[in-house]
Each structure stands twice: as structure tokens, then as C-alpha cells.
Amino acid sequence: MTAPEDRWVIVSGAGGVLGRELVSHFAAGGRRVLALDREFGITPPPGVTARAIDVLIEADVRQALTDTIPAGASIALLINAVGLIWNEPILTLRGAKFATHSLESWHNVTNANLTAPFVVATQVASRMVRRGGGSIINFSSIASEGNAGQAAYGAAKAGIEGLTRTMAVELGPLGVRVNALALGFIDVATTRSAVAADRLQAYVQKTSLGRLGRVEDVIHAIEFLASNTFVNGTIVKLDGGLRL
């Protein structure tokens, strides 16, 4: 039987702020990590295989898996953290004219937050089912419940929740569990650049725990979903009680 540390962990969106933290965490724990993203701003930690690819391209994802993970090796965990935060209202005034949400940005945002995780998850799942099963963790957001100014982002995140449940139903019998984290406001640079400081402070005041989420909170949730073998098709909300 393969020792847990010999089974691979894959992180998509590994070049992002949160992705880098997740890669570092699992690499520090002695896991074999394959990091996927379009680009990596910093050199990945030792022992991590980083592949700079467009995860929207199915063939490139497949090739990265084939090149990196030996044929007999198994994948324990996919952390599907690829995504893009985007704010754009449905309707806005430009001068005296109504302007509508750009279709181009709609496609970009739904590609990054729904299609890309779909591509990675399906390719990884096809490897997992033949190598002892595994766990897939997708990334949703509390914006899936509706958030003004985030039509494309919210729609994509609602989509990822539906995808998560559907994959859980289809892949559970094949030994692959699929769950998602619906993140609230996590204290990382991307949150602070996407949300104005006064607005972020207002969210903190509305949060029953009175603070932003920490990277460690996300890691603990991932460890739970990865290790509890009876959790499947669940969306874990990680928002400190903001949406109660």
C-alpha cells in the first residue's frame, strides 16, 4: 500500500497568494506537490514541481500530469484553487449612458472560476479513479449566494458548487470525494486589493467573529475535507459567521 506521503497533492492556482501558501504548507509536510498556474511570481519551495500552463487547455493539463506523475503513482488530493476575483456591476452609468456588464469580462471570469477548475478536476479525477481514489476540493465563495457587483464571479461560484455536488454523486462510487470551500473574506493581498479598506472594515463589523479569515483557517478546512473519508458533496462555508 502506498504511504500517504508518497501520494501526490496537486494545487491549481498555485501562483496566487493563497495557492502559494497551500503549496508551501503541503511541501513543508513532506508531500509531493505539483503546482499548476499560468505563472509563478516566486520560485516554488524545494521539492515542488511547478508547471506554468494555461489550465483552460485540457491537453496541457493532461500533459503536465503525464510528465510529472509517474504512471504507477497516485494522487491523494487536488486543491482546485484556480480563480479570479472580479467586481463589475450589471448596469452602471458612463456619463449619461447606461453601460452593461462586459461580455468579455463575463467570459474571462467564468472561465477562470468555473471552466478552469472543471478542466483540472476532470483530468485529475480520471487519474484518481484508477489509482485508489482521492479527494478534490474546489473553491467557492460566499458570493455564490449573490453579492452586488459580482455577477460573473457569483454565478461562476454558484456553478462550482453545482459542479462539486454533481461530481460527488458521480465520482463517489469510484472512490473520489469532491467537496468545496465557500470562502468569505480571507486576509490576503488579493482581498485587500479587491475590496476597499472601509468596505472591508464594514464586513469585519458584520462578521460575528469580528475578524477576517486567516490562511490557517483555510488550511485547517482543507485538512478536514481531505482527511474525513465520509464527507462528500459538502460546501463548507468559511466566513466567520458573516452571512448568518
Binding site: V129, R130, E170, P173, L174
Partner: protein, 71 residues
């Protein structure tokens, strides 16, 4: 293990699986997901990855039995 036993296991059912030349597609409750599960269970049993040719030949209960005999 016989094909009918394996197919019942995959369908999670106690219904009597018809023998012989019955097409898998005509068995009550059969669908493409069950097909995937059948291939994965067969790979466990025979101890090797099935080729596309092997999988293409899996059309009937009898075909499953033939493959099981190679284990």
C-alpha cells in the same frame, strides 16, 4: 467471481441479472457510470489496466465472463 455476481454488485441490487448474451445496456439500471465502475472493478480483479480494445469488447454479460476468465 462470475459476471452476474459482479454486475449485481455494481448495480447494488439483488435483481436477477440475465445470463449470456444479454447486452449490458439492456440491464435495468445500467448507465455509463455503471460502465466505468465495471471497468475499474474488472481492472482490480484481473490485476491490469484494460486496453481500449478490451473495453470495447465489453458488450454483454458473456463478454464480462470471458474477461473474468483471464484473471
Amino acid at each position: 467471481m462470475h459476471a452476474r455476481e459482479l454486475i449485481a454488485e455494481i448495480l447494488r441490487t439483488n435483481i436477477l441479472i440475465p445470463p449470456g448474451e444479454t447486452s449490458l445496456a439492456h440491464i435495468e439500471g445500467w448507465d455509463s457510470l455503471k460502465g466505468v465502475r465495471l471497468v475499474l472493478r474488472l481492472e482490480e480483479i484481473v490485476g491490469r489496466e484494460l486496453s481500449e480494445d478490451d473495453i470495447a469488447k465489453l458488450q454483454s454479460v458473456e463478454d464480462v465472463d470471458l474477461l473474468l476468465k483471464t484473471a
